[in-house]
């Protein structure tokens, strides 16, 4: 379940450099300078049609190569060919990738190949005829669910191995968009399962960005502006998941569990999480950034959306193509919000931080946040 390099500059004994202990695979470092060029050369000769390799040899050689250097695209591509010809089980590549990521948690090519494999697996899963939509058996759904859960684990592990692991979190978002179809249940599950993780990684901007993604998906799936609300109701009354082209094939949408979302409460909970972390861990810009954006979203929630139409959009004229994803980047000048205690509590929170903190960065973030509160909320 894990690979690693054992620092060992000289071969002292005449024995194999491979060490296997408690399911961890180690390679003594002295052998890499012999092994890597050897397998690399063998693969290149095969690709140049100068030396034939049979399927088993190809699988072994690419496996060795990728455990030493998973960013070697050609090796992954050879495995793509083996998968397409039916010789290699795609699940093996998921396992190989997972192993490579224990040592190379950022490896872009590993994540890219992983997405290709997952796409192959969903295509195998989907039924050819549209007439069967809604009549899928339990097995394919269950399979996809298990795949999704496994991907969440792999991402979480990789995120823990390298701070702000952009590629791991990007992959996680991709899996939700393309495999899990962004159903309400999935979004809420992910919010709860990442809560502990982000509390343990308070500077991990990627982790908090993921939570923004989850919250934004919940918001967009229910109400952002009247256009989208109407569209959802007309197209699919049951399912709040996104219907946008590249995010949802819609095939399994009908089977998604229904769960209503108490959005204001979720956003309040997020604010509480931020406040607690900011108190406990002074001086982390990510937390303030996250708090800022969450508060912004909670003031564009359904309860206050009727006010948005009358208000000016601050600043630039934007083209109407900027709906959807970037809704949240608009700042609205608005009258004081009457239906929420949010602002009052925020002022109290910030003033408390300012009066008690001794960390210079914390003071700076709090001051900036306070200025933003005044400007944005106009109170």
């Amino acid at each position: 379940d894990e690979i690693g390099l054992i620092p060992c500059p000289e071969a002292r004994y005449n024995r194999s450099p491979i060490v296997l202990v408690e399911n961890k695979l180690g390679v003594e470092s002295w052998c890499v300078k012999f092994l890597l060029p050897y397998v690399h050369n063998k693969l290149l000769l095969y690709r140049q049609r100068k030396q034939w390799l049979n399927k088993d040899e190809l699988i072994d050689i690419t496996c060795t190569l990728l455990l030493l250097n998973p960013d070697f695209t050609t090796a992954w591509n050879v495995r793509k060919e083996l998968i397409l010809s039916g010789t290699l089980n795609p699940l093996k590549d998921l396992h190989l990738g997972k192993l490579a990521l224990t040592k190379f948690p950022k490896s872009p090519e590993t994540w890219i190949h992983r997405r290709w494999v997952l796409q192959q697996l969903i295509q195998e899963n989907s039924l050819p005829s549209l007439a069967t939509k809604g009549n899928l058996g339990a097995a394919p759904m269950e399979r996809i669910h298990r795949l999704v859960q496994e991907e969440m684990n792999v991402c979480s592990e990789a995120a823990g191995r390298y701070p702000s692991n952009y590629n791991a979190w990007s992959h996680r978002i991709w899996v939700l968009q393309h495999l899990a179809k962004l159903t309400v249940k999935v979004l809420l599950d992910e919010l709860s399962s990442t809560k502990y993780w982000v509390s343990m990684h308070v500077s991990d901007h990627s982790g908090f960005h993921y939570r923004q993604f989850l919250l934004n998906s919940l918001i967009r799936g229910t109400v952002t502006d009247n256009n989208i609300l109407v569209q959802n109701q007309m197209v699919n009354e049951q399912n709040p998941s996104l219907q946008k082209g590249e995010e949802s094939a819609g095939t399994e949408a009908a089977c998604a569990e229904e769960q209503s979302v108490d959005l204001p409460r979720r956003l309040d909970e997020e604010m509480e999480l931020c406040a607690e972390l900011i108190d406990n861990y002074p001086g982390h810009e990510t937390l303030w950034c996250h708090s800022d954006e969450t508060l912004n979203n909670s003031h564009q929630s359904p309860a206050t959306s009727h006010m948005t139409q009358a208000m000016d959009v601050d600043g630039l004229n934007e083209s109407s193509s900027k709906q959807g994803y970037t809704q949240e980047t608009k700042r609205l000048k608005r009258a004081p919000v009457q239906d929420s205690l949010g602002p009052e509590m925020e002022y109290q929170f910030v003033d408390k931080v300012l009066s008690t903190c001794r960390d210079v960065d914390q003071a700076r973030f709090a001051t900036a946040y306070r200025k933003w509160l005044v400007t944005f909320l106009g109170q």
Binding site: S164, Y166, S170, Q212, S319, S321, T326, T329, R331
Partner: protein, 226 residues
């Protein structure tokens, strides 16, 4: 990243047609997120490298106004580190010499876009970042004694960091907008580099020459007979 490479190549070689980039500008705009910066694909975290590529591609496609320029400006200016003077690639990360170009390089692009819409508040002598502080970081912290430049002290040199530290230094030293030019050079005058083109990151004269050269040839068509 790919969109920028394509736009850069196509525009320099005069093969840019509306069909080639149909929908591209709108897609790039969708990569701008709540932070104000731009991610690799829609939904991703804002990132200096992707933000530069996205904005530069939109400048080439003349569609930079699809972006929320204000939130972008807010995001990128927030990425200059107040202690180090260099730039970080994303919120709450460490400074890195290569972002001297990816991030600081956004300010000339933004200046141009805001100027085009007649913004009265633009400076006539400076970019909207601390040019001297960036130069200090690059010159004092990013040079390898044996030659070449690097990410931050303690890292080893490589060609990528050498390229982008130097590119960032050039951006920080040269302000230019229309006929206005202003040089801000930290240290001795010999520190001054040649200016670089903020979209293509090659010398402005080279951009001009490439464009002139390829304008001589017609835009290739998809007609097999030709």
């Amino acid at each position: 990243r790919s969109a920028y490479c394509a736009a850069s190549v196509a525009s320099l070689t005069n093969i840019l047609t509306p069909t080639l980039f149909a929908g591209t500008a709108e897609w790039i705009a969708r990569c701008q997120n709540w932070e104000g910066g731009i991610g690799g694909v829609p939904g991703m975290e804002a990132h200096g490298g992707y933000t530069f590529c996205g904005v530069a591609a939109l400048v080439i496609l003349k569609q930079e106004h699809l972006l929320n320029l204000r939130s972008l400006l807010h995001w990128v200016t927030g990425r200059q580190m107040r202690f180090e003077g260099g730039f970080q690639g994303r919120c709450n990360k460490l400074v890195d010499g290569c972002y001297s170009f990816w991030q600081a390089g956004l300010l000339p692009l933004l200046h141009r876009a805001l100027h085009a819409r007649g913004d009265p508040a633009l400076s006539m002598a400076h970019w909207m970042f601390d040019q001297l502080a960036l130069q200090e970081y690059i010159l004092l912290c990013c040079q390898c004694p044996a030659g070449g430049l690097l990410d931050k002290p303690g890292k080893s040199r490589d060609f990528y960091h050498t390229c982008y530290c130097l590119s960032g230094l050039a951006i920080a030293q040269h302000f230019g907008s229309g006929d206005l030019h202003n040089e801000v050079v930290l240290g001795i005058p010999e520190n001054c580099l040649q200016a670089t083109h903020p979209v293509y990151n090659i010398a402005p004269e080279k951009v001009a020459r490439a464009v002139m050269h390829f304008l001589q040839y017609p835009v290739p068509s998809l007609d097999p007979a030709s």
